[in-house]
Symmetry: C2
Subunit: 280 residues, 2 copies
């Protein structure tokens, strides 16, 4: 429900969500006016908080734009803390009930990565790269192309995109061979790594064009070279995934997890990928 029904359309710069929370509308005229100086914002936030408490509101969501970041310390002094941030804003939250633990949902907790086993079926070759920067650089480490899945992006698309960006090779997604869940992401986040098989498009050039900024070198290698990687410890998760990539390349389909594009359901529009074992 929105407060508009009770207060008239433009009086209060907030709405109520389905969880009993308050979402402050920073584009609302009343907010813009209140936020014109730190003093008026402080006074307004005080009045608003009193009212939210009286109405039994629970969590409050307050988005402070980078250009308004003078307001951050004002909100801090009124009991707000950080929740998450993107480049241009920081989301601050306050939990109002005094006799109940906060149920404000957690910030995003994971990065999702892809690693691509790029298989050229015609020439029985796999595509490997050396990275220019980061932990894998400077060690003569040949590895499958990897990258991050963006928010809003699907795993097959991310894998094909990364390979195209890093090497110029055009591919088609075939299967997930496994998912590794690690707990060594940036800033205490965890990471899920999808190891996928891509097949080189038959009509694609095999000529590699490396990405200057990230890739030191790239090459086509044999399956034996791929499996005999001195950096991949026997029995490790990477070894397991490499073996399954090779099994897929050899034609074995039980080593893979397929991507089914299915309706979201629950009365919601659209489709989503669901990764499941192959029924066939």
């Amino acid at each position: 429900m929105t407060r508009a029904s009770e207060d008239g359309d433009r009086l209060v710069p907030w709405t109520r969500d389905r969880y009993g929370g308050v979402v402050v509308d920073v584009d609302h005229a009343a907010f813009v006016e209140a936020a014109s100086t730190t003093e008026t914002f402080d006074a307004a936030l005080g009045r608003w908080t009193t009212r939210w408490r009286a109405e039994g509101a629970r969590g409050v969501w307050l988005r402070v734009g980078l250009e308004k970041s003078e307001l951050v310390s004002v909100a801090r002094d009124r009991g707000f803390e950080f929740h998450h941030a993107e480049k241009t804003y920081v989301m601050m939250t306050a939990w109002l009930p005094e006799d109940e633990a906060s149920t404000i949902p957690a910030n995003a907790s994971h990065q999702v990565g892809v690693g691509a086993f790029v298989w050229d079926e015609e020439r029985k070759r796999v595509l490997l790269v050396q990275e220019k920067r980061g932990p894998a650089s400077g060690r003569d480490l040949w590895k499958m192309p990897t990258g991050l899945v963006d928010a809003g992006e699907d795993v097959p698309d991310a894998a094909e995109r990364e390979v195209l960006e890093e090497t110029g090779i055009e591919t088609t997604f075939e299967a997930v061979v496994g998912v590794r869940h690690g707990h060594f992401g940036l800033f205490g986040k965890s990471d899920l790594f999808f190891c996928v098989v891509l097949r080189v498009k038959p009509e694609s050039t095999r000529e590699i064009v490396t990405q200057e900024s990230e890739i030191e070198a790239a090459k086509w290698a044999s399956l034996d070279d791929f499996l005999d990687n001195p950096h991949v410890d026997r029995g490790s998760h990477a070894h397991e995934l490499h073996e399954r990539c090779a099994r897929w390349a050899s034609g074995e389909r039980t080593a893979g997890i397929v991507a089914k594009r299915l309706p979201v359901g629950f009365g919601r529009p659209g489709e989503v990928y669901t990764y499941v074992t192959d029924d066939a």
Copy 2:
């Protein structure tokens, strides 16, 4: 490498990372002194930035604690933007090279959820709940217990924990039946949903104790009741996952993805879960 070797141990409050970046140490004495007022911090940040540029530094990471949030707008005026935030701090970044696109890694992009098909093998019953708040509430919707995987937490542990919290039932993880990748998370984030099979511990009580704050009701249902859910559209991703849960309950193992605990490898200590098809 750290700058300490060049400048002496306590002179500059930053280190350099493997990507050519600068990580500002907010606990360093020189930082604490500079940050004592917004004016001294502004002057220091100006001097430091000049030096970082001269040394060819790339990205700069600046963590501003909630208690120091007066400094946020100072850093903004010096060209910093937000990267991410947790409750007690906001991380700000600046990209220094003028002739090169930023390679500062993205903020965490995903939330990871679990849904648990809790199977009581002895009584051939599955555990269902109704939620008190949120989109699934108020619709007479019986569903499998769900919850968020914390950063640093593994999927099997998260599933067992959520079921115990919501219903008091003790379970053991058996398999992942599928992973749904959605793009309707909070604040533009995406979400990965692991649908897993848990088995009720043979010695566990079957008596349900619902979590007051989140769960409206919970019950044991038959497999037929579970599959005949009027809220689950035929052919949707949820329908697909429900069918596979039922197949697992019926003893079919090809419907599932196993969790292998394997060494991290690459010379790093520890083990990680890797989710792959069942070899057996």
